[in-house]
């Protein structure tokens, strides 16, 4: 079969491109899980919301403000979408998730599932399920780069680069700075950290806001590549859950690496046996559950 090294490499590159989205999203889930002990089902919907902030900011915001020639440009959207969604996250945490802290963690999953249905439902009402194209891709990022073995869209190179920077930046902050040490201590023993005079509830709120802000950031990055649709989040979240089960949510670096790796495996599968590429991550999850039930980086007993 025509499986030249070049085809393999290019599919793996495209896979890496999906992988960075898995990495950012599972990183956000891991950060939130670490401090709040909930699985944030609404993560996918907020990723979708981020993409819509970019889309609507570009197409609708100007006319809405009475200035039809105004477009919220891509770079602004990269900043605005995480802030808007992060603020929504703060609101969700303060008004709802906070009340569930003393109950079983499963209620957090159920609550965020309900929120995901609401957000997705609202967008399904106003937008086409088959999706809309985002036209705000900046001129600088159009065109292709010659990687030696293939011509790769410049935009995708940017997405991979900035995503890796954000992922490793987050890892650095959490694992190597004083602020991060508070977070990690809060994960281990919130009561004790509180006794040291640190405002743990505020820290939890901001962590949640940051986690979902990451999802929105990923959504903006995704907007020019995939079509922006109300179901883009729910399709993504289930795959990301499998990624999280494979990696285990105990480790920040673990979730980043697992995301990247699985994206590449998925790309590779497209070359070897294309029909399986949609399920390969789930099949890997099955194997991991059989061989190492706690997950690749899991600390669960």
């Amino acid at each position: 079969m025509g499986m030249s090294l070049q085809t393999v490499l290019s599919q793996v590159m495209l896979g890496l491109n999906n992988g960075v989205f898995y990495a950012i999203l599972s990183l956000g889930l891991a950060v939130i899980f670490g401090l709040l002990n909930i699985v944030n089902f609404v993560h996918g919907a907020l990723y979708m919301l981020g993409a819509y902030v970019a889309l609507l900011g570009f197409n609708q915001l100007g006319p809405l403000l009475g200035r039809p020639d105004f477009h919220l440009n891509y770079w602004a959207a990269l900043l605005v979408a995480p802030l808007v969604v992060g603020a929504l996250g703060v609101l969700i945490e303060k008004t709802m998730l906070r009340r569930l802290r003393k109950f079983d963690h499963l209620y957090g999953l159920l609550l965020t599932f309900g929120l995901a249905l609401i957000i997705q439902g609202v967008f399904t009402n106003y937008f086409n399920v088959s999706g809309d194209a985002y036209d705000g891709k900046p001129e600088v990022l159009s065109g292709v780069v010659d990687l030696g073995f293939m011509l790769f869209p410049k935009y995708r190179v940017w997405v991979i680069g900035i995503s890796l920077a954000v992922c490793f930046g987050t890892w650095f902050v959490i694992e190597r700075t004083k602020l991060g040490s508070y977070l990690r201590a809060g994960t281990e023993n919130p009561e004790l950290v509180k006794a040291f005079g640190i405002n743990v509830p505020l820290m939890i709120t901001l962590t949640y806001g940051f986690g979902v802000g990451l999802a929105a950031f990923a959504g903006v990055l995704a907007a020019p590549i995939y079509s922006v649709s109300p179901v883009m989040g729910s399709e993504m979240i289930i795959t990301v859950f499998a990624v999280v089960v494979i990696g285990g949510m105990g480790s920040i670096m673990g979730s980043i690496l697992t995301g990247l790796l699985l994206g590449m495996v998925e790309g590779f599968t497209k070359v070897v046996y294309a029909p399986a590429s949609g399920t390969v991550i789930f099949l890997i999850m099955v194997v991991v559950l059989l061989v190492k039930p706690a997950g690749l980086f899991g600390k669960e007993a």
Binding site: V39, L111, G114, G121, N125, F282, L290
Partner: protein
């Protein structure tokens, strides 16, 4: 619970098709059984499966295929669908019980997604269209399930209704027996304190797996019934929306109560049929109910009622 309450409920079930639109009633019975089967896991074993649509819809496809393309009689079709769901439950359950709590929910959701892919891609499933026009056939090769009996000028599908009702009673009876048996007590012990149950010498994994298989088989029976009633097995049946819906029904009615899931199924099915005019907004409404339920109504209807009456319902 009181014997008279059961007799009253039985009478209600037998007379219902004369008072209520029978198709609505049958849909209700399907989802009530589905939710009751789900509750065996969530309510009595403390395991949240987020992939129960795989068993419900998977069985619907298997029954539909066997009845439509291989000419099986309906009772054998339902039996095959139930067995298939039980087998699938064994596979999914063996993997899922390797992880606890939140991970368990994610594993079941992801595994159910494989079933969804299969339902979309396998040659006999009809892809996006699903399996349509599934015949109801002759029960035991004799009784025509399509037969309508005219009562007071209205033709009623009584044969199909009583077949559905009998299956519902069978499934519900099995669940009731399981909950109130020593086996059920062990499940509750696991729900309350897994390490303690383990230290008392119970093989926790085996109990969880048996509960999972039982729950998935009965969820499959509900799906097989649904496929004969609506003569359709569709991607909706295997989608995560359906998995979420059964969670909501159970939560709304009362997790860990005998009658709760049926009450929750009644509420959700009624809402869906009454609110058809709102179109896709129904998703938003369902999501809203979810949020409200989790925040302020965690015991559900039957749970709250039980608390008022100070007894377990």
């Amino acid at each position: 619970m009181n014997r008279f309450v059961w007799l009253a409920l039985l009478a209600l079930g037998l007379l219902a098709p004369f008072a209520v639109y029978p198709v609505f009633m049958m849909k209700l019975l399907c989802f009530a059984l589905f939710a009751a089967a789900f509750n065996l896991l969530l309510g009595y074993t403390g395991l949240l499966s987020f992939g129960h649509a795989a068993f419900f819809g998977g069985a619907a496809y298997v029954t539909g295929h066997l009845v439509k393309n291989l000419g099986l009689t309906p009772e054998l079709g339902v039996l095959a669908g139930t067995l298939f769901a039980g087998l699938l439950g064994y596979l999914v359950g063996s993997l899922a019980i390797r992880r606890q709590g939140i991970y368990f929910a994610m594993v079941t959701l992801a595994l159910a997604q494989i079933v969804y892919f299969l339902a979309l891609k396998l040659p006999f499933t009809g892809g996006e269209d699903g399996l349509q026009g599934i015949p109801r056939g002759l029960l035991f090769g004799v009784i025509d399930l399509n037969r309508h009996v005219t009562v007071g000028g209205t033709p009623l599908p009584l044969a199909l209704y009583y077949f559905t009702f009998a299956l519902f009673c069978l499934g519900f009876g099995i669940i009731y027996r399981a909950i109130h048996s020593p086996f059920g007590q062990v499940l509750k012990a696991i729900r309350e304190n897994e390490p303690r149950a383990r230290s008392l010498g119970y093989k926790v994994e085996r109990f969880k797996l048996i509960a999972f298989v039982l729950s998935s088989a009965l969820a499959g029976m509900a799906g097989a019934m649904k496929c004969l009633i609506f003569q359709l097995a569709s991607l909706t049946d295997v989608s995560w929306h359906t998995s979420g819906e059964v969670v909501l029904m159970t939560l709304l009615g009362g997790v860990g109560t005998v009658l709760g899931p049926a009450a929750g199924a009644f509420t959700v099915v009624t809402l869906q049929s009454q609110l058809t005019m709102v179109g896709p907004w129904i998703t938003v409404i369902i999501g809203g109910i979810f949020v409200v339920c989790v925040l302020v109504f965690r015991r559900g209807f039957v749970g709250e009622l039980g608390r008022l009456l100070r007894r377990s319902l």
